[in-house]
């Protein structure tokens, strides 16, 4: 994590960390020191957040934002970096959640993080399988394959009782959350668990896309034939994008089910959720690791803000159906607007704004 993380974790922290970063650079303090200091400040802030904010903020905003951002990173690896369209991320989340549940159910004493990893791996394999058609077909035709995944997975978990341990409604309940003996069942614990999972995976994702594999993904995305000519193994790159992206989605699904909802039913992770994850990536920024965090924060916070605004304007509670439709219109319009004006998304917009602010100096007369 470098100083650029300060931009996306949250604007308010960014300012405090940024005060340390930008100005000293001009006085030639070694960059590594500045970055190290910024990293420590941001990390300390993130870890100590449960002491600073209310339980509502933790469990209704921060935890789902982290889970959706992780799913967004997975979607972005597939779509934003490797250029393969997928509308099946909720299916992969669902596979991850159910696999995690089944692992912790059937293996006694399995550490929580190991079962998360298992869920991610199973989701990754399933993603790999549904990514196989990408070897032969291209572009939005892949939508069909991932749609097949989406509908099939929902059907499978609804119809086959084994996955949900034969609970009558097909709903699964989260196992007790504890890591290395620490009880994490409080809202703060849920947040720490999410952070513990999301932070390393984010760093890993960032390193992946900056490394050989990430470059081969972008080469495939930008011009597949040219990529093949310069020696990129395109088929391998695409399958790895599906596999690794779905691994991220799977772990995100486990977080969504266990850290956020405490339960999950197959229809909770349906096509609408897939679209939500896709929108997170488009709004936050295609081909960016920071983007999904911005996008997820927006997707979770915007309805809350709209609700507040609505009741402030009307002076009472507003019809939720009306709000939902307004929300849909604004989301759709924003997607179109960003695709036209700034395909790199809100993360880039924030970054540009941040640079402008930090470089701004009062004009000397």
């Amino acid at each position: 994590m470098s100083s650029e993380t300060a931009v996306w974790t949250s604007p308010s922290e960014g300012e405090s960390a940024g005060a340390h970063t930008r100005a000293p650079v001009r006085k030639s303090v070694p960059l590594a020191v500045v970055r190290g200091a910024a990293f420590v400040v941001v990390a300390a802030l993130l870890v100590s957040l449960p002491l600073l904010v209310t339980d509502y903020v933790l469990s209704a905003i921060l935890v789902p934002v982290l889970a959706l951002a992780l799913a967004g990173i997975g979607q972005n690896l597939i779509t934003g970096y490797a250029g393969q369209l997928s509308v099946g991320s909720a299916a992969f989340m669902s596979v991850g959640a159910f696999a995690t549940y089944d692992a912790s159910l059937h293996v006694r004493g399995l550490p929580l993080l190991v079962s998360f990893a298992f869920g991610g791996l199973v989701a990754g394999l399933v993603g790999l399988f549904f990514g196989l058609p990408s070897l032969r077909i291209r572009g939005f035709y892949l939508v069909v394959s991932t749609l097949a995944a989406q509908f099939f997975v929902v059907w499978l978990f609804t119809k086959v009782g084994w996955f949900s341990d034969y609970s009558a409604s097909g709903v699964i309940t989260a196992p007790k959350l504890a890591v290395a003996g620490f009880d994490l069942s409080s809202p703060g614990g849920h947040y720490w668990l999410s952070l513990l999972v999301v932070a390393p995976l984010t760093v890993l994702g960032r390193n992946l896309v900056r490394g050989r594999l990430g470059r081969s993904w972008m080469a495939v995305r930008d011009m597949e034939i040219a990529a093949a000519v310069v020696g990129v193994r395109t088929g391998r790159a695409k399958l790895l994008a599906f596999g690794i992206g779905s691994f991220y989605c799977g772990v995100a699904g486990a977080l969504w089910a266990f850290a956020y909802l405490g339960t999950v039913e197959p229809h909770g992770l349906d096509l609408d959720r897939s679209f939500q994850v896709l929108f997170i990536v488009i709004l936050g920024g295609l081909g960016s690791i920071a983007g999904p965090f911005v996008g997820a924060a927006f997707v979770i916070l915007f309805p809350v803000a709209l609700d507040q605004l609505g009741s402030a304007l009307v002076g009472g509670s507003v019809d939720p159906g009306l709000l939902q439709n307004v929300e849909k219109i604004i989301f759709g319009a924003l997607v179109i607007l960003l695709l036209i004006k700034q395909p790199a998304g809100m993360a880039r917009l924030l970054h540009i704004a941040w640079i402008r602010i930090s470089r701004w100096r009062p004009r000397q007369a």
Partner: protein
């Protein structure tokens, strides 16, 4: 055996309804190479417009005409606001933009017209005709007739009219088409306008059958395998694709699904479509090569 035919016919008739929606896709795909995810929302929007006008006491022909005008206006607006700025964008950006458009249209339709379910009565009986060996209603025959007429009309327009030939040129090579003086934005507006009118017809028939409600926008998802199987750029293929999807999903549901707990209708068409994609990427009647790797 009689039961088999009953299921088959029922599936084929359902397929006719899928064809109706898929036609709108083909129009736009042929003209601009865009997979328009918002087609289902356009069906919903058109049907809601029509029903609302009818409920306000407008006579049917007037309501139909007014809805058609509304759909044309919507189409031109889409061309101006969404497509024109994205002319040079990669196909994926265009597809994602139509996804955003679908959300805008769905939200707008329900905001303006409300979310309750409307009934739509065309005055055509949906009860089985007596004396036939299988169950077919007048409405089924009417729907099949309308679909056939639409396909014929669109086919003739594409083959013979100036705009139709222009649309085919644009689909083939937009740069060359512009270079010889074709008005790209006008042609796109025509294609989207046509798709809007097709959406109105589809909304009319679907709405009469299942009621005008939000789920109309979901038929878009069933149209996708229809297009893959029939071929994205073939109007005749859409009919074949629709019939294959309709018949096979009903037969699979009855003969295979009953052994698997039922409900396989929800995913069977997609798996079938993936199979087609792997074996025959151009679809049954597609004219051009799908980009293969």
């Amino acid at each position: 055996m009689a039961f088999f035919f009953e299921v088959l016919i029922g599936g084929l008739l359902a397929g006719v309804m899928y064809t109706m929606v898929a036609l709108g896709f083909v129009l736009i795909y042929k003209a601009s190479g865009v997979f328009n995810f918002a087609q289902g929302s356009m069906v919903l929007f058109a049907a809601l417009t029509l029903v609302t006008l009818l409920e306000h006491g407008l006579a049917f022909p007037w309501a139909l005409g007014a809805s058609a005008i509304v759909m044309l206006v919507v189409a031109v607006a889409i061309e101006r606001v969404v497509l024109r700025p994205l002319v040079h964008a990669p196909p994926m950006a265009l597809f994602l933009a139509t996804l955003g458009l679908a959300f805008v249209l769905e939200g707008l339709a329900q905001l303006v017209y409300g979310t309750q379910v409307h009934g739509l009565e065309l005055g055509i009986s949906d009860a089985p005709i007596r004396g036939l060996p299988v169950e077919i209603s007048k409405f089924d025959l009417f729907a099949a007739g309308v679909a056939a007429a639409l396909v014929a009309a669109i086919g003739i327009l594409f083959q013979t009219t100036r705009a139709g030939v222009g649309l085919r040129a644009v689909a083939d090579d937009p740069l060359a088409a512009v270079a010889v003086g074709l008005d790209l934005s006008r042609l796109w507006a025509i294609a989207w306008g046509g798709a809007g009118l097709v959406a109105l017809v589809a909304g009319l028939l679907w709405g009469a059958r299942v009621g005008v409600q939000f789920s109309l926008s979901l038929v878009v998802l069933k149209a996708l395998p229809v297009l893959i199987i029939g071929g994205f750029s073939s109007i005749g293929g859409v009919i074949a694709g629709g019939l294959i999807v309709g018949a096979s999903e009903k037969l699979a549901e009855v003969y295979v699904g009953s052994h698997m707990g039922g409900g396989i209708e929800s995913w069977f068409p997609y798996v079938l479509a993936v199979g087609f994609l792997l074996a025959r990427p151009t679809g049954l009647f597609g004219e051009r090569l799908v980009e293969r790797v």
